[in-house]
């Protein structure tokens, strides 16, 4: 029960952050693919920098153990990502931002979004046996993490990732690596 309450509270903060970042708006999601508004990229990379630094620090101190790491099977992760991007650009949401947008009272999130996800879930569940095992079998590294797979220090990797993110933020915000939207 306690776990359910904790999860509910975490979900509320999650949805709140999506709303405040503007990701519950169609144009925010699509415009990152048009390079006219890079908020999605800034939001995701900041979240990654904060969470990876925090989690590896906490693990180093022995305060957390990692849950099941999402599995790496190269073709499936990549092809899944490629198909996912098409859906994102068409709808202007992903499952999380759609749930938050529905909470804001947007009917074009609540109705076609939720019905679409349920339909997609049924299609996947009914074709799982034919589709998933063959893809999952190609180049499968199980629950790998980069520090162990490449034998690099996690500290070094996270430092590099952070510096790269900061450089990218600098290029976007100060050097102007962003297109002007000529159809505003």
């Amino acid at each position: 029960m306690a776990n359910y309450i904790i999860t509910l509270v975490l979900g509320i903060f999650f949805g709140f952050s999506l709303n405040k970042a503007g990701l519950t708006k169609y144009h925010k999601i699509v415009n990152v693919f048009r390079f006219t508004d890079m908020a999605v990229l800034k939001f995701m990379m900041t979240a990654l920098v904060v969470s990876m630094s925090g989690l590896y620090a906490l693990r180093g101190l022995g305060l957390v153990t990692f849950p099941n790491v999402p599995a790496t099977y190269i073709v499936g992760n990549l092809v899944g990502g490629l198909i996912f991007g098409v859906g994102m650009a068409l709808s202007g949401y992903c499952p999380g931002t759609c749930a938050a947008g529905a909470g804001e009272g947007k009917m074009d999130y609540l109705i076609p979004g939720v019905l679409g996800f349920l339909t997609g879930a049924v299609l996947f569940g009914l074709t799982y046996q034919q589709v998933f095992p063959p893809i999952n079998a190609i180049a499968n590294y199980g629950n790998a993490i980069i520090p162990e797979l490449w034998n690099v220090s996690a500290f070094l990797f996270i430092t590099m990732f952070t510096l790269m993110s900061l450089l990218l933020f600098y290029l976007i915000d100060r050097v102007g690596w962003q297109r002007k939207d000529s159809h505003q």
Binding site: I12, F16, P70, A89, A99, E104, G125
Partner: protein, 181 residues
């Protein structure tokens, strides 16, 4: 204090501040419940639950029995939280859309590019949502369950997924926007 309250009331935050908050939520999930965030899996649990009510024989397969068991899982609780989080976020800035004019077709840019018809927005959104959920199944998660949750643990899968997502998102936007890109 006044500054913080005023900031909370703003409709849009700096993506860096909002992103840092999501990062803390990601840490919180591991620290407080040894769990990862994720949204797409919840729809699988719900689809299995509805499916088993409507057509139990069709949904009596390995996937809906064992891989993604039906019911109100912890993932479903999380998306209920996300729903209310979005609601609270919009309420603090006075931008709730419930029962308001324009809530059926909520984005000005969409209307400018594709026209005012609500059915068009809904058809494209529905098709997009089907694609998103199926793709998340193949990839092993969506933007939250794989890209953020996997990325923060430094799972290679997350970075492969993000690369694929941006590559095809850019191509799709080019195709559907054409000369308006």
């Amino acid at each position: 204090m006044k500054f913080i309250l005023n900031y909370i009331r703003r409709e849009e935050w700096s993506p860096y501040v909002a992103g840092a908050l999501l990062g803390l939520v990601g840490i919180g999930a591991v620290w407080a419940s040894n769990n990862l965030l994720g949204a797409s899996g919840a729809f699988e649990n719900l689809a299995g639950m509805f499916g088993k009510w409507i057509a139990p024989a069709v949904f009596d397969n390995m996937y809906f029995n064992f891989i993604m068991p039906p019911g109100i899982t912890i993932g479903v609780v999380l998306i209920i939280g996300i729903f209310f989080g979005g609601m609270i976020g919009a309420a603090t800035s006075g931008t709730l859309m419930w029962f308001k004019k324009g809530s059926a077709n909520s984005d000005a840019q969409w209307k400018r590019i594709f026209g005012p018809q609500t059915w068009k927005r809904w058809v494209l959104a529905f098709v997009g949502a089907v694609i998103l959920e199926y793709a998340a199944g193949i990839a092993g998660g969506c933007t939250s369950g794989l890209a953020i949750s996997g990325g923060m643990l430094l799972a290679p899968s997350a970075f492969l997924f993000i690369a694929g997502m941006f590559a095809s998102g850019i191509v799709t936007a080019l195709v559907i926007y054409r000369n308006r890109y």
